[in-house]
């Protein structure tokens, strides 16, 4: 069996998508709460004009967390003309009139969003609130008791960011497959983060940071027949991330990490990050690069998989015996009912 097929198995094991059964309950909860939000905001005088899923689910880069938790980022958008000047007000409305009424004791107003946890269902929902003026979005920034100087409607571009991550216009030939490979790589990196960092540090290596860095450094790898090679692609992408300039050397072999959003508000994703986070991130990324190179150099399939399991954890499969023997293989059928082809005679 090719190493790519093992990567595919690994990817299937860690990926989380809107269609997954595991996500179904979370989605139902989310829909239910969103409906209440719509009613509450309407009563408050700033009706919701749109809502959408943002974050990794929307960009096909979400993974199943090892803890089994699900995250949902549900953007709530109100019209600029109806939005109160005090951007925290709708956040309070959401927290008190919706979440607390539904029994969420731990609903919190954080700086960029309102959060709620369904502890019984391992569900964590973030509600960023935007006001929209024409095509422009502004995010409500500020905690519950923030004074005027610590709260604002800040320019943001959640849809632009999503489109940027999903953009495939620069990929020539099988662009969808190349975007798909990128999605795989981001998921691998997230699982690597969850596997290799303590919970506290992993929380500071933000998923959006990994995604932006990977996107900017992504180097697709396909053989001449068009078969993806995720191992090579990941290795070259990680190598590029290390030399791209995200890590600034500090004293005593330490590093500061910074990566800027490619869309409004253009802020540093790792703003406020410690050198400890940057150093660990950089050094472990460098170790990852070395391990990936070891896996590339290794010719034995099982040994190759063992190296990768060491990197990605137990979800990476290690076959009992090499596929070079003429073992019977189970058929995997296409998940499509039919596809249009270009074949004629």
């Amino acid at each position: 069996m090719s190493i790519q097929k093992h990567f595919n198995t690994f990817h299937d094991a860690i990926k989380l998508s809107k269609q997954d059964d595991a996500y179904k309950t979370a989605r139902e909860r989310d829909d239910s709460i969103t409906n209440d939000v719509r009613n509450a905001f309407k009563d408050a005088g700033y009706p919701v004009i749109e809502d959408f899923i943002q974050g990794s689910i929307s960009t096909d880069t979400a993974i199943l967390k090892k803890s089994g938790d699900f995250d949902i980022d549900r953007a709530i958008v109100i019209d600029c003309d109806n939005a109160p000047d005090n951007c925290v007000k709708p956040k309070i409305t959401l927290c008190e009139n919706v979440l607390e009424k539904r029994g969420f004791q731990n609903a919190k107003i954080k700086k960029p969003c309102v959060t709620a946890d369904y502890k019984s269902e391992n569900l964590h929902i973030d509600f960023p609130i935007y006001r929209k003026n024409g095509a422009e979005y502004e995010l409500a920034i500020g905690k519950r008791n923030a004074d005027e100087s610590n709260r604002k409607w800040e320019e943001a571009d959640p849809r632009g960011l999503k489109d940027w991550i999903k953009d495939k216009s620069s990929y020539i030939g099988s662009a969808s497959d190349k975007l798909s490979q990128f999605n795989h790589l981001v998921r691998y990196l997230k699982r690597w983060r969850d596997e290799k960092f303590s919970e506290g540090v992993a929380a500071k290596i933000h998923s959006i940071g990994i995604t932006v860095m990977a996107k900017q450094c992504f180097s697709p790898s396909f053989d001449s027949d068009g078969k993806p090679d995720d191992l090579i692609a990941l290795k070259t992408t990680v190598s590029a991330m290390l030399i791209h300039g995200y890590f600034t050397a500090k004293a005593n072999s330490q590093y500061q990490v910074s990566a800027f959003l490619p869309k409004k508000p253009w802020r540093d994703i790792f703003d406020g990050s410690s050198v400890n986070t940057g150093t660990q991130f950089r050094n472990k990324l460098s170790t990852l690069e070395g391990k990936l190179q070891d896996a590339i150099s290794e010719t034995d399939e099982i040994e190759k998989c063992k190296i990768l399991r060491e990197v990605f954890g137990d979800d990476f499969p290690v076959p009992e015996k090499s596929n070079n023997s003429a073992s019977t293989r189970k058929a995997i059928f296409s998940s499509s009912g039919a596809v249009g082809t270009s074949q004629g005679a």
């Binding site: 090719s2 001449s224 596809v339 270009s342």
Partner: protein, 566 residues
Amino acid sequence: MNYQEIVRHLCDQGYLATLENVSDLDCLVVSHDFEGGNLKLIHFCVDEIDCLPTFFLGNFSQYGNLAHVLPLEKFDLGSVCVGDQDSVSVNFEQPKLAFQESLERHINLLTKTILEVAWNTEELLREFYANWLRICDDSSADFICAASGDLEEVQVFSPVSGRKWGFGAKYLGITHCASSLAEFSYIAQQDKNRSIAGEGFIIPLNNLKPAPTTSELLGEWYLQTIKNNYISSKFEQKKGKRFWLIFNAQTPSGRTWFGIQLSIKGNGKKSLPKNEESLKNWSISPIRVKIFNKEKIMPRSGANLGLEGKSVLMVGCGSVGGEIVYKLGAAGIGNMVLCDPDIYTMDNIYRHVLSDHFLGCNKAIALSLELDSKFPWIKTQYEIRKLLDLRNTNYLNSFDLIVIAIGSPTHERLFHDFLVQNHIKTPVINTWLEGYGIGGHAVLDLQNANGCLRCAYVDLQTGARGLSSNLNFLETDQNLTVNHAGCGELFLPYNSVSAAQTALIATNLAIGTLLGKITSSSKVSWKGDCSDVVSRGFSVTHRYTAFDKSLQILPLYNEDCDICHG
């Protein structure tokens, strides 16, 4: 042309060259001494050189019969052949060098023919047929002879009146031996309304003299030939007014066929003349003989006799299939079953090999008729059935090769399932093209070998069984077809060049397989221009952008194919 400069150059090179006037024509004359004689070479001046400059051998009659030299009628000059002019690229920008080169070739050839008698004789026999043609009357009809070459009688049929070309325009000689050969039935099908012209004899010669250099010397050549070779007394005693003597003899060039026609002067019948006196009663003329048997015709015209016994099932007689069967026929395949339920319509005209005579005819039938008339030794049958109707183990195992050109991935995969489940041993080639001239593909599935059709369908992203071939250059799920007249009238735009290119790669695989030269499951693609695709906003695959192995035969095996690991 500056002949003064050429003369100066030749003189500088040591030649005795002068400009003279011969028979009121300006000539460049070169005199060359060699061991035992002198050559006088004459070049008639020209305005430009578009071939290697020609020199005639002066005083030709003093040399006797020289290989590669033919007499120029009415002059005592010999026309010298120093090689195939078309295979020489001449330096017309430096004429003096071209003259020098030509002169050297003439002198080398002539001195060798003059001094090396044995070599000269062998060369005269090697070029026997070419020399024989020189004395034949250009306006007389060729003689097509279907015979094995043994000593036997031959029945001669006249050309069909009014025919200017084709087999009908030629004399036809058929022996008893040939009547049992396939070629007889083929020729007989060409024209059934010929009149009998007379009779003749096939005479193998063991002792061949070089061809006479002029038709005047033909009688002498004839008398010496029948004296030095065995001719059945039965033939010698036969009386007639007109005889065709069809000779064949082994020469350094292989077995050579040629003939003479003897017509009696005046009335009455006589037996074959055997001496000078009796020959005076006959007119004698040389004839061009074209032997018509597969051993001669097939290799000479590009077919491979090794394919004559092979049997191919061709499924799909559309634009690609039509091209394939023509090329397989041309390669020498002896037996073909053509299979297609479709009718040939006007929508097919410009990209199909069939002519509009066949409009409304089933494509398999039409192609069968075309092949039978085109290729003398082919045997075709047709089936008005679809691929999936052919799922019969014994039937499929009866072929040496199955070629599928239907452009239907669903049916092809279903058919492949049947082949696998029933352990069909016959190799199968699936071939298809893609629209807009982007490319085409052929896949050879050798049973019991690594690599199968499904290897070409493995979804490279997931390793699952794909629905579209991973060889394709165009991405899936694009609306590529054109619709001019509603449902049922959808078509994939491509032209005859794409069909022919695709057929070429498939046929190449087929021939290689049948000859045992390709022994592993293989794939071949040709990559075309993508400008039409891009201008229409369609997307190409990564394979298209990376592919640089057009026409190369590559391994088909895909390590993720579950069928190959089943």
